[in-house]
Symmetry: C2
Subunit: 220 residues, 2 copies
């Protein structure tokens, strides 16, 4: 197994090199870049759909949507008004890597873009190891998933800057305690910025969108 570990280290260090190139390219253009990560079905695509609709006149947004198979997410984002949406189908791989993202960016004109969203593969483990050149990882957790997830999957919460608790319209229908999930997440990473919202009911989306505009403006 040592040989496997050595190879993995090499793959990760090559990934870090490519991610640094991407970060430099995006920083030069003052583009806020967010890497959205979560379990399958926490609501990454739903959050991006709502964000696109709400901020379409305020921000120029580009979206890269990763999936193991299908371009379903990219199709949904185009329907929600996304003008520049690019799918990445990993064909089995459990995460996006910097090479995949770099290849997509090479084919795009991003000169006047404000925000780049990268929607990662739904997986709360593997994508935590792969830097994509983003400013921040945004980890989503939904109220139907259990409030102990930050403790059980600590790496993702440690490496994220923002946590979005989605589906708060379903609070009370499970044993999920939002105070407990926040305490668990902050125990892993005391610097997490936390949002609580529901993509379905719309509650809390304004706070998220205001923060996005501010963060994009601060990059300029």
């Amino acid at each position: 197994m040592n040989k496997k570990v050595t190879i993995e280290k090499k793959v990760l260090s090559e990934n870090d090199r490519l991610a640094a190139e991407i970060r430099q390219k995006l920083s030069k253009r003052k583009i806020l870049t967010l890497n959205l990560v979560s379990s399958p079905g926490s609501g990454k695509t739903s959050l991006l759909e709502k964000t696109l609709i709400t901020l379409k006149d305020k921000l120029k947004m580009v979206l890269i949507a990763g999936d193991v198979q299908t371009e379903n997410d990219a199709d949904r984002l185009k329907k929600a008004g996304g003008k520049i949406v690019r799918p990445i189908v990993t064909g089995g791989a459990c995460h996006l890597d910097a090479k995949m993202v770099g290849n997509v960016l090479n084919g795009l004109n991003i000169d006047d873009v404000d925000v780049l969203f990268i929607e990662n593969v739904g997986n709360l483990v593997c994508p935590s190891s792969y830097d994509l050149g983003e400013d921040k990882k945004v980890v989503l957790i939904s109220t139907t998933e259990g409030d102990d997830k930050p403790l059980k999957y600590p790496s993702m919460f440690r490496r994220s800057s923002v946590m979005v608790i989605n589906k708060i319209d379903l609070l009370g229908l499970s044993d999920f305690d939002p105070e407990k999930v926040k305490a668990n997440a902050l125990q892993i990473n005391g610097n997490l910025k936390i949002f609580e919202l529901s993509c379905r009911s719309g509650v809390g989306l304004d706070v998220w969108c205001n923060w996005l505009v501010e963060a994009a403006t601060a990059k300029k």
Copy 2:
């Protein structure tokens, strides 16, 4: 990357060898072995808790509970009456492998056991590649996750024999369409045996438990 692929193939073929040993050991003792896989938070532990309580006088059950960090799931299963419960903390790894399971089994007396449940790490991608010597993979999906998941994560549904749709008490509170998820899953794997239930309300658990008893009896 070719070198990485070669190493991965070697790791998988060594895993298959160990899984075959485990399968032989369990078959000799006529133990029904189920490998439970799903996204984080779909309800693998909840389903096992309910199963332990319902079938405690009918079946002798052993449980192996895998997690990236913490022994939370194993602790829950012990509280639910699990007499032989063993945790595996992978320490970062995104799946269980046959070596981890084999090591646990080597320390157990399983001579008069009816059913072995292996609760995998919450991850809808990577555990699909690792045979653990089970009779069947049981994939869970909850009604809050989106009905297109079988199409987006096809490998797991292709390699599973059983699909459990959990949290049907929450139907109607999202856009999840149970008929659509069944059609999508059967499109990937026409042989899937499907259960619909709610661990919270208890609906449908009797059908699942009856099937388990029958399947365990059929192994004898």
